[in-house]
C-alpha cells in the first residue's frame, strides 16, 4: 500500500480495518474513528484519490492501492490552501473531524474549484462536526477556493507577462 507517497509492505489480518492499519500500524494518527456504523466520517481518507470512510474498508482491500491521509495534505512545510483556510476562518475547534473535513474539501475543490455554499454543505453531509455548527467549515472551504483562484490568476498574469 502506498500511503502519502511512501510504499509500505505489511502482513495483516484480513479483518483489519484500514483506519486501524493507518493509525496503529503506521502510526498515522491524524485520521480518527468515532462511531460503529459508518455515520460520523472522522475516518475519511483518500483511496485512489477518492474520499472513503476508512472504518468501512479493510486494509486488505487497499492492497496495491494509494492512500492519502491528512498527513499527506501538506507539502513539507507548505500547507495546502484548505489547511490555511480552516485556520484562517476558525473552521475547527476540537480538531477531531477536521482531517476528514479537509480531505473532502480538497477533493471537492479539485473537481469543482468554485463551489457554492450549498455544494460544500452537500459534500460534507456525510461527516459530523459537534463543535462548529458547520458555518465556519463552509467559510473555510470558500476561503480556500478564493485563495486558489487568486493564486491561479496571479500565475496566469505572470505567465502572460
Amino acid at each position: 500500500m502506498t500511503v502519502n507517497g511512501t510504499e509500505y509492505v505489511r502482513e495483516v489480518e484480513p479483518r483489519l480495518l484500514l483506519i486501524h492499519f493507518l493509525r496503529d500500524e503506521l502510526r498515522l494518527t491524524g485520521s480518527h474513528w468515532g462511531c460503529d456504523t459508518s455515520n460520523c466520517g472522522v475516518c475519511v481518507v483518500w483511496l485512489d484519490e477518492t474520499p472513503v470512510k476508512s472504518c468501512t474498508v479493510l486494509a486488505a482491500m487497499a492492497d496495491g492501492h494509494r492512500v492519502m491521509t491528512v498527513e499527506g495534505l501538506s507539502r513539507g512545510q507548505r500547507l495546502d490552501p484548505v489547511q490555511q483556510g480552516f485556520a484562517a476562518c476558525h473552521g475547527l475547534q476540537c480538531g477531531f473531524c477536521t482531517p476528514g473535513m479537509m480531505l473532502t474539501a480538497r477533493w471537492l475543490l479539485n473537481r469543482n474549484p468554485h463551489p457554492t455554499a450549498a455544494e460544500i454543505r452537500e459534500a460534507i453531509s456525510g461527516q459530523v462536526c459537534r463543535c462548529t455548527g458547520y458555518e465556519n467549515i463552509v467559510r473555510s472551504v470558500l476561503w480556500a477556493s478564493e485563495a486558489e483562484r487568486a493564486q491561479s490568476e496571479g500565475a496566469q498574469s505572470e505567465g502572460a507577462q
Binding site: A87, C94, E122, V128
Partner: protein, 784 residues
C-alpha cells in the same frame, strides 16, 4: 504592543490542521495492553454466575476482571458525583442495558473484542422500570436494592420558590395555561469517545492516566479517595480532547477498570469505548418530564410560573452538579421575566437506564428550565391572541432592575434585555416575516416564526454555596513571567476545543502589554497546573478566566514595585499606560514587563517585602454566577403532507458580556445553534418496554449535518458583568440552552392553523404529522 480583545486566529490550530493533535487513542506505550468491557444485554437481571475461564484461556488475553475480583479489593462500587454509589463491575444485579459486567485485557484491541464473546454470564431477567412515570407506582420493581433498606425508586424531592405566593398569584390571574412537556433523553455525543491509558511506574509506583477528562484535578482526588493511592502519586493528563460537552465529566467504570488492570498486570492498559458504549452507558442528558403552568393578566402581564418535574436519573444517581442543587439550576426557570412569584418542585427517580442527566451543555439544567418557560410564554401568547415578541417585550426585565433577585433566589448580575430582543427582531425583519407568514397561509403553505429569550446562569461558583462532593468550585491560575519576558500561564480548566490556549493568552497579554504569542497556556496536566474543578457549565471564562486576569494584575502590580526600584521613583509616581509602567508626567520614563522581568530576576535591590521573580498564584472564588443572555429567532417551513421541517433561518443575538475573542465566541454560538436543530428535530434516546436502548448508534441517534443547518445569522450586545474582572460572562452553552425552544416554538407556530398547541421533541416528520392529526406520540418511549 498588545492585541487585547480581538478575533486573532487560534494558536492551537497549528497542530490540528496537520493531523498532529494528541488524543487519548493516539497514545501508544511500550507493552501496552487493550481493555474491553462486557456489558449486560438486560436492563434488569440477577447475575447468577460469571464464567471467564474460556476468555482467560485465549492466547492473547492477559487478564479478566469481574465484579467479584473488584469486590475483593473494595472497588466493585465507586462514589458518584451526586453522593450515590455506582457499580464499577456488576456483582449482584445488572441495572441497565449496557452496564459493565467484566473487563478483558488483551494484547491487541481485536483480541480483546473476541474474548468478550468467550465470557459466559448466567442472567436471570427481572422486570425493568422504563417509563419514569411508573417508577413510583406501588409495586414497581425496586432497582436499588443494593442500598440498605431501599424499598422504592425515589431519589429526592427538591423545591424552590414561594409556594403560597405563587398559588395566590395564580388565583389572581385572569388567564392560566398549563402544559405537560418532555425534554427527552439525549446525549452529548462528542466525536471522540471516552477512554484512558493507565500506566504505573514500576519503580516509583506513580500512576499516570491519560484520560478524556474535563476535570482532571477532581478526578485525581477521586481516584485517590476511591483506590487509596496517595494523591501525589497520581498524575492525570488530559491531552487533546475531541469534544466534551459534559460527557467527559464523570469517572466511568472503564477508567477504574483500566487503572486496576494496569496495577495488576504491571503494564500500561488502554481502554477506549466504542460509540455504542458511549451512547448506551455514558452520561446522558436531560430526561425531564415537566408540568408547567403560567399565570397572567388578560393584558398579558405574566404574574407567576409553577412547575412540577419528574427527573429520570437512570439506575444510579450520577448527575454532576453542585451538591446542594440536586436539580441543578432548574429553578432559574423564571427566565428573563419580571414575575411576582414562582415555585418549582422536582422529584428524582431511578429507572433501568444508564446513569447521568446533567450533561450536554445544560449549564446544570438551565436547558430544561429555559425550554419550559419559553414554551409556556409562547403558549400564553397563543391563548391571549398576542404576538409572541410583543408579549415578551412587555414582560422582560428592564435594565434598571439589575442586579435583579429572581423569585427563586438567583441574583442576575446585569442585562439589557429589551435591546437584545429589538436587535434580533430587526435582524430577522420580524414584521416582514409575519406578513409573509400570513400570505403563505392563504396559499396553504406553512411557515413558522419561533422566539426564545433566555437567561443563562454559569460560572459555578461561589464556594460557600457550590461544591461537588465537597470540593469547592473555585479555580486557580499560576502565572510566571520568565526573565526574557515570555510568560507561562497554568490554568485549572481543560479545553476540549473552546480555544483556551488562545483566549487565556489574550487575557494575560491584554493585562501585561504582551503579545498573545508570548504567553503559553498550560492546561490538562495535574502535575503542571493548579487545582480546579474543570471545564463545564461555561465556567472557564467566568472562573478560571477571572483567575488568570487577577494573576496577571497581581504580576502587574508587583512589576510596578520593581519598576519603581528600577527608575528610582515612588511606586505612586507610576501609571500603567500603553503596555508599560510610566512616570506620571514623563511617559518616556517607562519600563515594559519584559524589562521588569529581567530586573526582577537580577540582583536589583528590591523594597522590603517584595520577593524576586515575577510570578503570581491565584485561587479565584467567584462572588456569584454570571448571567449571559440572548434573543433567538428561528424561521421554519413545514410540509404538513409529510411532516418535514426545514429550518430556513436562525437569528441569534447573544450577550456574554465582554468578548475576549469574537471569532471564538461566534464559533461557540454556531455549535449550540446546531445542537438546537438536532435536539428539537431528531435527537433522542428511547427504550422499548423491556429496556432495550434504541439509541445506541449514530444510525438511530441522529446528529445534524451541514444540510440541516442554515447559515447562522449572529448579532451581539455587550452588557459587562459587574463582578468579573474584565466583565466577561462566558458563552459555551448559551446557544444549546436558547436554541431548542426557538425551533420548537417555530414549528408549533407553523402548525397553528391545525390547532396544534404543543408537541414534544424531537419533532421528526412522523411526530409532526401525528401532532397535526391530533394524535401526538410520546417520543420518550419506543414506537411499538
Amino acid at each position: 504592543m498588545t492585541t487585547g480583545y480581538s478575533a486573532i486566529p487560534r494558536k492551537e490550530d497549528a497542530r490540528f490542521i496537520r493531523g498532529l493533535g494528541t488524543y487519548v487513542d493516539d497514545i501508544s506505550l511500550p507493552g501496552m495492553l487493550h481493555g474491553a468491557i462486557l456489558r449486560s444485554p438486560y436492563a434488569h437481571a440477577v447475575i447468577r454466575s460469571v464464567d471467564v475461564a474460556a476468555a482467560l484461556a485465549h492466547p492473547m488475553v492477559e487478564a479478566v476482571l469481574t465484579g467479584e475480583d473488584l469486590a475483593a479489593q473494595g472497588l466493585a462500587w465507586m462514589p458518584t458525583l451526586s453522593g450515590d454509589v455506582q457499580a464499577v463491575l456488576a456483582t449482584d444485579k445488572v441495572r441497565f442495558q449496557g452496564q459493565e459486567v467484566a473487563f478483558v485485557v488483551a494484547r491487541d484491541r481485536y483480541s480483546a473484542r473476541d474474548a468478550l464473546a468467550l465470557i459466559d454470564v448466567d442472567y436471570e431477567p427481572l422486570p425493568p422500570v422504563i417509563d419514569a412515570r411508573t417508577a413510583l407506582a406501588p409495586g414497581a420493581p425496586v432497582i436499588r436494592d443494593d442500598l440498605p433498606g431501599k424499598q422504592d425508586n425515589h431519589i429526592f424531592d427538591w423545591a424552590a420558590g414561594d409556594e403560597r405566593a405563587t398559588a395566590a398569584a395564580f388565583d389572581d390571574a385572569d388567564v392560566t395555561v398549563s402544559c405537560d412537556m418532555v425534554y427527552p433523553r439525549s446525549h452529548p455525543a462528542p466525536l471522540e469517545t471516552c477512554g484512558m491509558v493507565a500506566d504505573v511506574d514500576a519503580v516509583s509506583g506513580k500512576l499516570t492516566l491519560w484520560s478524556t477528562s474535563q476535570a482532571p484535578h477532581a478526578h485525581r482526588t477521586m481516584y485517590a479517595t476511591v483506590t487509596g493511592l496517595p494523591e501525589h502519586k497520581i498524575r492525570i493528563v488530559s491531552p487533546d480532547l475531541g469534544g466534551g460537552f459534559g460527557n467527559k465529566v464523570p469517572i466511568y467504570p472503564g477508567y477504574l477498570c483500566a487503572v486496576v488492570a494496569a496495577m495488576q498486570t504491571g503494564r500500561p492498559v488502554k481502554w477506549m469505548e466504542d460509540r455504542s458504549e458511549n451512547l448506551m452507558s455514558g452520561s446522558f442528558a436531560r430526561d425531564y418530564h415537566m408540568h408547567g403552568e403560567i399565570a397572567a393578566t388578560r393584558d398579558g402581564k405574566i404574574l407567576a410560573l409553577r412547575a412540577r418535574v419528574l427527573a429520570d436519573h437512570g439506575a444510579f444517581n450520577a448527575t454532576a452538579q453542585p451538591t446542594k442543587f440536586p436539580a441543578g439550576f432548574f429553578h432559574i426557570f423564571t427566565g428573563s421575566y419580571d414575575l411576582r412569584a414562582a415555585h418549582c418542585q422536582v422529584t428524582g427517580v431511578y429507572t433501568s437506564k444508564a446513569p447521568g442527566g446533567v450533561a450536554y451543555s445544560c449549564s446544570f439544567r438551565v436547558t430544561e428550565a429555559v425550554y419550559l418557560v419559553e414554551r409556556l410564554v409562547d403558549m400564553l401568547a397563543r391563548e391571549l391572541g398576542a404576538d409572541p415578541a410583543e408579549l415578551r417585550m412587555r414582560n422582560l426585565l428592564q435594565p434598571e432592575q439589575f442586579p435583579y433577585t429572581a423569585p427563586t433566589g438567583w441574583q442576575y448580575d446585569s442585562g439589557d434585555y429589551p435591546r437584545a430582543l429589538r436587535l434580533a427582531l430587526e435582524m430577522a425583519g420580524y414584521d416582514g416575516l409575519r406578513a409573509e407568514q400570513a400570505e403563505r397561509r392563504e396559499r396553504g403553505e406553512y411557515m413558522g416564526i419561533g422566539l426564545s429569550f433566555f437567561t443563562e446562569g454559569v460560572g459555578a461558583g461561589p464556594r460557600e454555596h457550590m461544591d461537588i462532593l465537597g470540593l469547592g468550585m473555585a479555580d486557580g491560575a499560576d502565572l510566571r513571567v520568565h526573565p526574557t519576558g515570555k510568560a507561562v500561564l497554568a490554568i485549572s480548566v481543560q479545553t476540549q476545543g473552546q480555544g483556551h490556549e488562545t483566549t487565556f493568552a489574550q487575557l494575560v497579554a491584554h493585562e501585561l502589554g504582551l503579545s498573545p504569542d508570548d504567553v503559553d497556556v498550560v492546561h490538562g496536566d495535574t502535575d503542571r497546573t493548579p487545582f480546579g474543578l474543570g471545564t463545564y457549565g461555561s465556567r472557564s471564562t467566568p472562573v478560571s478566566g477571572a483567575a488568570a486576569v487577577v494573576a496577571a494584575r497581581r504580576v502587574r502590580d508587583k512589576a510596578r514595585l520593581v519598576a519603581a526600584a528600577m527608575l528610582e521613583v515612588a511606586a505612586d509616581d507610576l501609571e500603567w499606560a500603553d503596555g508599560a509602567w510610566r512616570v506620571r508626567g514623563d511617559p518616556e520614563q517607562a519600563r515594559t514587563i519584559p524589562e521588569i522581568a529581567m530586573a526582577a530576576h537580577s540582583s536589583l535591590a528590591l523594597p522590603d517585602g517584595v520577593e524576586g521573580h515575577l510570578d503570581a498564584s491565584v485561587v479565584y472564588n467567584p462572588p456569584n454566577l454570571t448571567f449571559p443572555f440572548g434573543a433567538y429567532i428561528c424561521v421554519t417551513d413545514v410540509d404538513p403532507g409529510t411532516g418535514e421541517v426545514k429550518v430556513r433561518r436562525f437569528i441569534a443575538v447573544d450577550d456574554c458580556g465582554v468578548r475576549i475573542n469574537p471569532m471564538i465566541v461566534e464559533g461557540q454560538v454556531h455549535r449550540g445553534l446546531a445542537d438546537g436543530i438536532g435536539v428539537a428535530l431528531m435527537q433522542s434516546i428511547v427504550f422499548d418496554s423491556i429496556g432495550n436502548c434504541l439509541g445506541g448508534s449514530f444510525m438511530d441517534y441522529l446528529l445534524p449535518t451541514a444540510m440541516e443547518c442554515p447559515s447562522w445569522e449572529l448579532g451581539a450586545t455587550v452588557t459587562p458583568s459587574p463582578h468579573h474582572p474584565v466583565g466577561a460572562k462566558g458563552i459555551g452553552e448559551s446557544a444549546t440552552v436558547g436554541s431548542p425552544p426557538a425551533v420548537v416554538n417555530s414549528v408549533i407556530d407553523a402548525l397553528a392553523p391545525f390547532d396544534v398547541k404543543h408537541a414534544d421533541m424531537p419533532l421528526t416528520p412522523a411526530n409532526v404529522w401525528r401532532a397535526i392529526q391530533g394524535r401526538p406520540v410520546r417520543p420518550d418511549l419506543a414506537v411499538e
